[in-house]
Symmetry: C2
């Protein structure tokens, strides 16, 4: 078996081709629709906002199979433009027809940057969130659509995104490092000296997408950034950053940070609806982004874990996110580490 992560500079057109092709396979759409937290929160948010949507014109950015567009039509939209760049648009058109929505939902194949809509819209809906919120940077397209097609005073669903960080203790890493100490008992060969190499390989600078177990989270998560989707600019997305401060629940060895996001839907006259990818909430297909430190650091109850997170597009590919963390644990001096999503996530099938 082979496992290679290659970094290389991709030309923009190839990047886009890879990006848009990747959504043509059924697996990702199955995973997204089957993600009950995701699909149901969008559905509830859209139906609860039916007063805002009824009789209005809606734009769905990156419509995929068109399910959010159909929810908007069910909420009473007069017209929904379901803009989708990749070939899944053909399936979306079939689904719209199958649900007798052709008069209200119009599937338009193309990028939102290039399509020409017959009119401006009152509502934009989009499920644009990637791993660690910003991986794949589809939010740029939503902001482009907002600035070009949304009428003044129009609504964006969701309307807010927030980023959180927490120190964690991932036991799988320690298990994997310990494995090399067990080889002698199993096969009579002492391979314990592999443990150092294993640590360097496992605790590398890749952003690992993983389900973090509640018990492994070592403090209350700290919010380090908030994006108001009505006002944030593409320029501001080039560096999303903020400081954080956590305090350890108890004694443990911090070996990673976990980064996750929430997005919020306004609900008139009701409490806002939050789609959360927190490890404390039911699992979603986004899981969490795990950032491994080079070595574990011991903490006790109330040990402060402080620092600053900065997220920005990678130089190799604008759709790939990098996360830089400056952090200090207890009395330790500030350390820094920069993480990125390995190429598999946009170039390969997992």
């Amino acid at each position: 078996m082979s496992h290679v992560v290659k970094k290389r500079k991709l030309d923009k057109s190839r990047q886009d081709r890879l990006y848009f092709d990747s959504y043509s396979d059924v697996t990702i759409h199955e995973e997204m629709i089957a993600d009950h937290v995701r699909t149901n929160t969008y559905r509830t948010a859209i139906l609860r906002n039916s007063e805002l949507i009824r009789g209005k014109v809606v734009l769905d950015v990156g419509a995929g199979t068109g399910v959010l567009s159909i929810f908007c039509a069910q909420a009473g939209a007069k017209k929904v433009f379901a803009v989708e760049a990749c070939s899944i648009a053909e399936q979306a058109a079939k689904i719209v027809k199958h649900n007798n929505m052709e008069d209200r939902v119009e599937v338009i194949r193309g990028t939102v940057e290039t399509v020409d809509l017959p009119e401006k819209v009152e509502v934009i809906v989009s499920e644009w969130m990637g791993y660690a919120l910003l991986h794949e940077s589809m939010l740029n397209s939503v902001l482009y659509a907002r600035d070009k097609w949304l009428k003044p005073g129009g609504v964006i669903l969701p309307s807010k995104a927030e980023l959180y960080i927490a120190p964690i203790s991932d036991p799988v890493v320690e298990d994997r490092l310990h494995f090399w100490y067990t080889v002698k008992d199993q096969y009579g060969v002492d391979m314990s000296c592999m443990s150092d190499f294993a640590r360097r390989c496992i605790m590398n600078s890749d952003i690992t997408v993983n389900s973090v177990t509640v018990e492994d989270v070592l403090s209350h998560p700290a919010r380090f950034a908030e994006l108001d989707l009505c006002s944030v600019t593409v320029d501001e997305l080039r560096a999303v950053k903020g400081r954080f401060r956590c305090e350890s629940f108890g004694s443990a060895a911090v070996n990673a940070f976990c980064v996750y996001f929430t997005v919020t839907f306004p609900c008139p006259d009701k409490q806002a609806l939050v789609l959360s990818t927190s490890p404390f909430k039911p699992e979603t297909h986004w899981k969490q982004a795990v950032l491994y430190l080079d070595a574990p650091v011991e903490v006790v109850q109330d040990t402060p874990v402080t620092g600053e997170v900065s997220m920005y597009p990678s130089e190799e590919s604008a759709r790939h996110i990098c996360i830089h963390v400056d952090y200090s644990i207890g009395e330790q001096k500030t350390q820094s580490k920069t993480f990125s999503i390995p190429d598999w996530s946009s170039e390969a099938q997992s």
Copy 2:
């Protein structure tokens, strides 16, 4: 999330770089050592052949962490050349030293095609098997080593490889296709028309590496090819093929073939030792290669499933295997489908 499978013609040096780099990460070595069936069968075979190995010179082709070389030294080899092309050779050298074997095990970094050994060898040991046996075509290197470095009458461990095929009924496919019929109940949108698209995506021409459940195997597997490693030539590996005939255990819908292999170690005065990747045996990290038909075919008890399998290197990359199957199920006329391993397996981390 993005899932893309790209086919492209790779130049030979880049292919080799990707191939050799891929073994530098600890994960694959951990997986291989932790594969108890693999490591323990090799260990037992080497120790049972200690009469053949004692006092002899051994070549380990693609030694990895050097574990097989150390087994050979434990079996009494006078000298073991552990040839390894990638940087894991550095770890192998440490492990050899850590086990006080430096006098008997010499780690040599390089490809077996280019290294210069001080003498010919009496024994070659190698764990060269890839998915569907021949993926990655490391066997070519073993044959090269045999022809260049093995003394006449020398031994190769393992000495024989066999390939098997069986019709299967994979229930996951039907579950995944059925999923699209369940969306209406969950979210009020009828997406049943996605099922056809899903079938085309899932039942594509990729070789899927998967653990096949015993209950899903629909007949006794049929052996369609055997390679005698003492005599097979690189030229013969350009097309490994053979006919098969299976008879269905009972009524079911065949939706795939499963291909797997065994390798055999000679054991003087004892029964030969077989390392099997059969779905009827304990799981290995090779799992099985699953080849999906375009559509399921109903069979009843004793329905014959016959055909011919041909395995050959892909045109895009000599290390990638293609499997072509001509098959006939019951009275059905012969159909053909060609499968290949998608690029993720050698270019990306899963």
